[in-house]
Assembly symmetry: D2
Homo-oligomer: 363 residues x 4
Amino acid sequence: MIAVIITARASFAKFETILEHLPEVRLYLCGSALLDHYGNLQPVVAQKFPQMEVVPVYSHMEGGLPVTMAASAGQLTTALATHLHRDKPRLVMVMADRAEVLAAAQAAANLNIPLAHIQGGERTGSIDDRCRDAITTLSQYHFPATRLAGLRVYNLTGSEKIWVTGCPSIDVAKRALLEPPVSWQELSGAGSDIDPHGPFALVVQHPDTDVWEQSFQQMTQTLRGVSNANLPVMLQWPNADAGTERISKAIRMFRNYHPTVAIRTLPSFPPSRFLRLLSQARVLVGNSSAGIREGSFLGVPVLNVGDRQRGRERGPNVVNVPYNEQAITEAVKRQLAHGPYASSGLYGDGEAGKRIAEVVRGL
Amino acid sequence: MIAVIITARASFAKFETILEHLPEVRLYLCGSALLDHYGNLQPVVAQKFPQMEVVPVYSHMEGGLPVTMAASAGQLTTALATHLHRDKPRLVMVMADRAEVLAAAQAAANLNIPLAHIQGGERTGSIDDRCRDAITTLSQYHFPATRLAGLRVYNLTGSEKIWVTGCPSIDVAKRALLEPPVSWQELSGAGSDIDPHGPFALVVQHPDTDVWEQSFQQMTQTLRGVSNANLPVMLQWPNADAGTERISKAIRMFRNYHPTVAIRTLPSFPPSRFLRLLSQARVLVGNSSAGIREGSFLGVPVLNVGDRQRGRERGPNVVNVPYNEQAITEAVKRQLAHGPYASSGLYGDGEAGKRIAEVVRGL
Amino acid sequence: MIAVIITARASFAKFETILEHLPEVRLYLCGSALLDHYGNLQPVVAQKFPQMEVVPVYSHMEGGLPVTMAASAGQLTTALATHLHRDKPRLVMVMADRAEVLAAAQAAANLNIPLAHIQGGERTGSIDDRCRDAITTLSQYHFPATRLAGLRVYNLTGSEKIWVTGCPSIDVAKRALLEPPVSWQELSGAGSDIDPHGPFALVVQHPDTDVWEQSFQQMTQTLRGVSNANLPVMLQWPNADAGTERISKAIRMFRNYHPTVAIRTLPSFPPSRFLRLLSQARVLVGNSSAGIREGSFLGVPVLNVGDRQRGRERGPNVVNVPYNEQAITEAVKRQLAHGPYASSGLYGDGEAGKRIAEVVRGL
Amino acid sequence: MIAVIITARASFAKFETILEHLPEVRLYLCGSALLDHYGNLQPVVAQKFPQMEVVPVYSHMEGGLPVTMAASAGQLTTALATHLHRDKPRLVMVMADRAEVLAAAQAAANLNIPLAHIQGGERTGSIDDRCRDAITTLSQYHFPATRLAGLRVYNLTGSEKIWVTGCPSIDVAKRALLEPPVSWQELSGAGSDIDPHGPFALVVQHPDTDVWEQSFQQMTQTLRGVSNANLPVMLQWPNADAGTERISKAIRMFRNYHPTVAIRTLPSFPPSRFLRLLSQARVLVGNSSAGIREGSFLGVPVLNVGDRQRGRERGPNVVNVPYNEQAITEAVKRQLAHGPYASSGLYGDGEAGKRIAEVVRGL
């Protein structure tokens, strides 16, 4: 049995095409992946993979503060350890760079269970780099997305067990392009009615954990900057992280103070719905990796705000701006004038999941 | 205030000369550092640093199994997080490579407290390498012991905050040479009466966590191999780790089955007493890093058994042998024939603690 | 030093008059008492008791589910144990009946620290009774609010260390009557503008943990029932408990579906402000104990909805109704017709805090 | 599915005859029940109930101190909660009075899973009484051993769900009488060779958690007192509790200082083997409940030392003595002179397990 650990809604999207090609998997849903507020994955998994065994591992301490992130990480290691010990998988798979993923990796490493890491070797320039590299050093098998990331993994580990497969998120983006666009009925959420077939800006901004105390101010700048461009705004609630509550507060206050701005808050979407919506957006604004990764494949114009993704390899569709109202307004206008970009293969060709599953089956 | 995290008796020895030169320190004693069975550090600290503030953080789950190591690590992260949040240090200092140290590093990283790591960049060839590198990637300030280790830290982090200071364990070894040898009265422990001024072999063998299930067999081979050389044997109980209970069992059974072998089990010694005893030993047998590190400075003949230290830089005083009775017996005889080696500066000159404290005061 | 453990905003109100008469206290703020969402007590304490030592103990797992309540309770026991061990209080004080309080009591009992329990011996008819009695059996000193409660404590414990002091919540209510009424400026919160000097209904409904799955439906019935009476509605977000998220959802949906109903959601208030507001309300509707306890002293007409308080001793100001829209509407109308009730001394005379502090100082 | 929670070796013995009559059980082995040092139950269960599903829940923090007991209890609540949530039993069964059992009960209570408690309502006069009563107040179904205990449970809970079934430990004792006596080959352990068919005293002394700091002194008095009677001594290592390490130290030191006393330390025995050995002993000395419970049925002369069992109902076979060398020596001699007592039905007739299983099947 292979244990796939998922600690956040975003990871499941990227695991999906791997899971389609991988039998004998048990899914460990941990931390915020179980919480309604961040997009409970249990119903999603039940629908997509009705036969999948799912183990819920509650470990997320409320607070959105560094201390609760740290305590949650420890709790995850402890709780996951007893479940993995009970179930004895032959391999543990983790993805990306969050503190919870490092916590899961630590459980596997201490249990002497071989660990496979997807999306190692990237650079974003934030604290996530340290976590991501720590996960890489704890892992035996590596599936980086790009060749440059692969080189960094080799540099960190000296390992020969590195396969550059592209990023499975591109698999999802590729499929999203084949599906019908998101309709009004699919939108759900709360706030203004916005037609997803018409022009709109999509805002996805998470706390920058290096400077999480500024989260309120940063989100306020972004919301003001985007709304100046006179485009309806759709936005998603932020990830569970230090600073989350401040961003949520900025959103609620902006809404209260600017009742005439067309703004709609969206719940956590199933990933493919999110990518379809992304491909419909005139512009993505924020600091989500989706703009840089899937956005490069989809050719969506992106404003990457602030330093959260500062070191990430990026395609031509991305413009960088600081957390500054005026700079954001101007850049939004430029991207709107440019319109869609050509698709880039930087982060993969849409077959990553199949490749990873093939390698893993043979391990 | 600077938080110094200690998770095992061995680390305190190495922190001692740093602490002597560093004011405003609070000591967090975690995990097995609080347990009588592994050498409770509380009385030691109270004696050496009577003014030192000490925070006890109990987190060690009993069992000596991978699952309890993993659960202990998580518990340490969670518990330490609430204490560090309560106390708000400006810097956290950790040492070496154990899973508990990684757990502590994770607490600091999640709390956004700058992290200083001593003894990064080394290679032992075991699972500890992965932990050590993970700690390095999470740290901002680095104090590797050797130039080669410094290069590895640079390779992992690209950081400029690396100071090659030598290992503070050499500071302790240097002082130990100035003190009178360990007398019979200081020995304590249980078993045969052995004169520490006469010839004896010192055995210190910890579980090799990569193959911890073989710990019983490995210890039995070592004990047989050493006892064949007709030298009285002093030995220490192993570290708290997966496999510990098996080693303890091997010791107890060997003693019961070989009542005529002169064998004495020693409790956990204050580090300087241990190093004095080490300098008195005709030969050190086992897989402790002390033989390679402090041993190189002290010039003690060492048998390094098995793979636990396989990648570590070593001086001319070390002979490598497998966990094999006959090979051990022969190598012990060869080292006895050779006698003491010349002192090597590979791991430092005995001034590391002072240098580290100086840098840290300025951070 | 005496350790006062607070796990929810409501307890602090009741501890306040005790703390005024008790020197050498350290306050342990645990679980939801630290969370903005439930009324972070840190700024409140800093303002009221600027000299008070406060230890924050994060332990609240997000989810609002039984499993997260259980995991939070365990986490609280573990985390609090290391802090109490570090600080070595001579007495631990806890209040009331929540699962987190039992968790705190267990930490103290295991540490062999004498435990004082306030508000034992009551009956509400819910799962809280079991928790409350368990806390009582773990405690050595008892401060029940009423004589009947005192008899129940004696029956449970056979102890002679029982002092019937009245409930300190009445102390707060007594003071609230001396202060000016809550003004529009003090209201904060979100939603309709409601004049606190004019007529309004106050709604405070927490999950009934015995049937927490019905929380959404129950809250919907209450909101409909109250709004039918054509009175503006002020309401508070529910406690952190299994079912909380469902109540929050019911509130949000009711607001969206009934845009014409004058409804205002209030943040967690400082307790005295809440009691002043309560004394201004034409009627309190819900299942908070405040209606029965402080309400009896204040003479506020109360609708006690459902079974959450079913066993609690009550004065003449309370009318019981099921979670049923029509029944609630009718009972609201009857209470409005009746108007204010005479003050009752059932739960105390407003001097409980002073009495408890006096006894505790002598322990 | 019914969840049976076992937190110590002793409980399994008592659950055995229940399990024989109860299908669809899953066994949760927690805390010290998984540790070699205290008698790992995993191989025992595998042998007796090869089909039984076993879930290992590691939660025991090492240290033998109040702080580690408290932290272990919290850890058990948290870890067990996630496993019970994963498995969704329809009933949870717990036994007796230890802090870990209360921790398990709290997990079940918070999860709203009905809880059955065996052996409630007894009195021992120690801190265990408080734990036991707290467990009773949290439980819905009660299986006390004696009529007096049943009355106490009724007094605590007012519940009608009380069945006085006798204690299942008597079931085991009844069977033990039908089996051949313990032979020399079955003894194992370490120390002097003692013939189990000849005369010997059995010593089983656990820490008295109310005064755990005196554990070393207490054990020393007992060992001296018994050894003065010139009878070979068999003894068992103590339970995992605050004070355990001190008792172990007392045993080791006594052995070292009195090399001529015939003394044998026994590992944790399978319960039936222990009861067979008990029935062979000339006298049982210590503070184990076994002397009072099973001993009354077996008619074994017992010295109950100290206050750990002070409130327990007892038969004529028990003599009480303080932790005093001389008093113990004299009482041992008197009991040896008296010889075996007649069997008493106070704690049951040997059919308790069958009765409990019958009731539980119908719940």
